[in-house]
Amino acid sequence: MTDLGIAIDSSTETGGRGAFRMFLRNKAAVAGLVVFTFIVLVTIFGPGIYGVEAHKMAAGPFLGPGDDAGPLLGTDYLGRDILAGVITGGRTTLFVAAVAGTMAMGLGLVVGSLAGYFGGWIDALLMRFTEIFQAMPSLLFSLVLIYLMGPGTWKETLAIGLTLWALPARLTRAEFLRVREMEFVKASRAIGSNDLRIMTRTILPNAMPPLLVAATLLVVIAILFHAGLAFLGMVDINTISWGSIMGKNRNYTLTAWWTVAFPGIAIVITGLSIALIGDGLQDAFNPKLRGR
C-alpha cells in the first residue's frame, strides 16, 4: 500500500502542513472524514428534511424494512419510524459524546500537564488521584454518578466526562515529561517565559499530535458509553438517542430485529469513521507506525 519514496519524502517534512498532506493521501482516513461529515450534517438537517417525528406513530407496529405499507427502515412496537429515530437520535448521541469527550480531554489536559510539567510531589499526588478513578470500572462509575445525580442530558454528559479523563491525563503527562526536557523548552525558559506560557505555548503544541489522536478515540468511547447507559434505561426516557431506541426495543429483538439493528449500525459506522480519522492522524503524525 505504501510507496516507499513518498513515505520518506513526507516524513522529512515537518509541521502541520506535512501531516495534513499525509492525512489527505490516506484514502481510509479521508473516507472516514467524508462519512463523519455526512453523519453530522444528517443529524443537524436530517430531521427537518425527513419531516417525520421520531416519537410519533407513523404507521402500523412491527413493519419490517422494505414493507410497502411502512417507512424505509420499518417501525417499532408502537409504530414509530425507525429511520426518523436514527436520524433524530443521532443528535443526542453525538452532542453528548462531543461535549463529554471535550470535558474529559480538558480535565485530562489540566491534570496531565500539571503533573508532567511540575513533577515531584505534584506529579505523585495527581497520579495517585488519577489511579483512584482508573480503579473503578468506568461504566459502573458513571452509573453511580447518574444514580446520585438523577437523569438528564447534561448530568449524563457530566457523568461520562468525569469517568473518561484518566486516559488523556496519563497521556498528557507522558507527553509533557518527554517534551519538557527538550532544548527549545530550556531556551524558552532562558528568555524568561513563565510556567503558564511554557506549558501552553511551548510544550502543548509539541505534545498535541498524540493528544489529538486520543481525542478521536475518546469521542468514540463516549458514544459507546452514552449508548450503553441509554440502552440500560439510565438516561432521560423522553430523549431519543441511538442507545435508547435499542433499549426500548430490546424485548422485541427476536420478532423485530430491525428496531435494534439499525441504530446499532449507525453507531458502528459513526464510530468507525471517527476511528479512521484518528488512525489517519496517527499515521500522518508518526509515519514510522504506518500500517501497524
Binding site: 500500500m1 495517585r128 489511579e131 483512584i132 478513578f133 482508573q134 480503579a135 473503578m136 470500572p137 468506568s138 461504566l139 459502573l140 462509575f141 452509573l143 453511580v144 454518578l145 444514580y147 446520585l148 445525580m149 478515540l217 468514540v220 459507546l224 449508548a227 450503553g228 440502552f231 440500560l232 439510565m234 442507545g243 435499542m246 430490546r250 429483538t253 427476536l254 430485529w257 435494534v260 439493528a261 441504530p263 446499532g264 453507531i267 458502528v268 459513526t270 464510530g271 468507525l272 471517527i274 476511528a275 479512521l276 488512525d279 507506525l289 500500517g291 501497524r292
Partner: protein, 328 residues
C-alpha cells in the same frame, strides 16, 4: 529473592492504599449528592415526623460528624462489611459473592478467548505483513473498537439463538435440565458461548492488532536476526524467542483493560440475563438499593486492583528483566 518479596510487598501496600482511597472517594461522592438519607429511609418506612427522623439519624450514625462517619465506614469496609442491602435485608458482600462465580466465568472466558485467538492472529499476520489477512486485522480492530458490545450480543442472539436455534438465548442454565454434573457443565458451557464470544470479540479485535504490531517490531530486532543467523529453526525463532517479548504489550493491555472488561460484562449480563454482579448492579439501581450499588462499585474496584497486581506478577514470569514493579 528478598528483593522480589520486597517489591511485591511494596506493590501490595500501594494496592491497599489505592483501595482505601476508592472507598473514601465513593463515600465523599455520596455526601455531595443531593438528598437526605434519613428522609429517604423515613419515606421507605412511611413515617416522616421529626422524632422518627432523629431516631433514624441516631440509628444509622447520621448525626455524627462527617469524619467520624467516614472512619466508621472505612473501618467497616476493612472488616469486609459492606453494609446491608435495603432490598434483600442481607449483607451486601454475601450477595455479591453469590454472583461472583458467574461474572468471573464470563469475563474469564472472554479474556481467554480474546487473548489466545488475538495473539495467534497477531503472530500469523505479523509474519505476512502485506497479506489480505494482515490488512483485515487492522480493519477488524477498528470495527471492533467502534461496536457496542450489547448490540453485538443482541445480533448474536438474533442469528445464533433465534434464527438457527443452535445456542440458548439467555440465562446460565436450563432449568428443565435434570441430570448429572457432567450434563450440567455442558449445559452451562452452552449458555456461556454466546455471552463470552460477544464480550471477547471486541477485545479480540484490539489484541490481535496489538499483538501484530508488537510482533512486527520484535521480529525486526537484532536478537531475532542473531537467532536466525545462528541457524535456529524459524518456528523456534518466532514462537520461542519473539513471542515472549511480543506478548508483553498484550498482557499490559489485558491487565489494564480488566475494568473495561467488567463494564462490558455488565452490559452482556444484562442482555443475556446472566446472573452476575453486573446484572445485580443494574437491578439494584432500579430498586434504589444504595448500599448494594456502593458495595458493588467498591468490590469491582478491588477486583481491578487485584487484577493489576496479578498482571505485575505475570510480567515477572514472562520477562525476567522486570524486577522492580510498577512501571505502567
Amino acid at each position: 529473592m528478598i528483593a522480589l518479596a520486597r517489591s511485591i510487598g511494596i506493590r501490595l501496600g500501594q494496592a491497599i492504599g489505592l483501595l482505601l482511597a476508592v472507598v473514601v472517594i465513593v463515600f465523599l461522592l455520596i455526601q455531595i449528592a443531593p438528598g437526605d438519607a434519613a428522609l429517604y429511609l423515613a419515606g421507605e418506612q412511611g413515617v416522616g415526623d421529626a422524632e422518627f427522623l432523629a431516631k433514624i439519624r441516631a440509628d444509622y450514625g447520621l448525626d455524627q460528624p462527617l469524619l467520624v462517619q467516614l472512619g466508621t465506614y472505612v473501618g467497616n469496609v476493612a472488616q469486609l462489611d459492606l453494609g446491608e442491602s435495603t432490598y434483600f435485608s442481607q449483607p451486601v458482600l454475601g450477595l455479591i459473592l453469590e454472583r461472583l462465580v458467574a461474572t468471573v466465568l464470563l469475563a474469564g472466558a472472554a479474556l481467554l478467548f480474546s487473548v489466545t485467538i488475538g495473539v495467534a492472529l497477531g503472530v500469523f499476520t505479523a509474519r505476512r505483513p502485506e497479506s489480505p489477512a494482515s490488512h483485515g486485522v487492522t480493519v477488524m480492530s477498528l470495527v471492533g473498537f467502534a461496536t457496542p458490545v450489547f448490540w453485538l450480543a443482541l445480533m448474536f442472539i438474533v442469528v445464533f439463538a433465534a434464527k438457527w436455534g443452535i445456542l440458548p438465548v439467555g440465562g446460565i442454565e436450563d432449568v428443565r435440565y435434570e441430570g448429572g454434573w457432567f450434563g450440567e457443565t455442558i449445559d452451562t458451557l452452552q449458555h456461556l458461548v454466546l455471552p463470552a464470544i460477544s464480550l471477547g470479540i471486541i477485545y479480540l479485535a484490539i489484541y490481535s492488532r496489538l499483538a501484530r504490531a508488537s510482533m512486527l517490531e520484535v521480529l525486526e530486532s537484532d536478537y531475532i536476526r542473531t537467532a536466525r543467523a545462528k541457524g535456529a529453526h524459524e518456528r523456534v525463532v518466532v514462537y520461542k524467542h519473539a513471542l515472549r517479548n511480543g506478548i508483553i504489550p498484550v498482557v499490559t493491555a489485558a491487565g489494564l483493560q480488566i475494568g473495561n472488561l467488567l463494564s462490558g460484562a455488565l452490559l452482556v449480563e444484562f442482555v443475556f440475563a446472566w446472573p452476575g454482579i453486573g446484572r445485580l448492579m443494574i437491578t439494584s439501581i432500579f430498586r434504589r438499593d444504595s448500599p448494594m450499588v456502593v458495595g458493588i462499585v467498591i468490590f469491582s474496584a478491588a477486583m481491578v486492583i487485584i487484577a493489576n497486581l496479578l498482571t505485575d506478577l505475570v510480567y515477572r514470569f514472562i520477562d525476567p528483566r522486570i524486577r522492580v514493579g510498577g512501571s505502567r
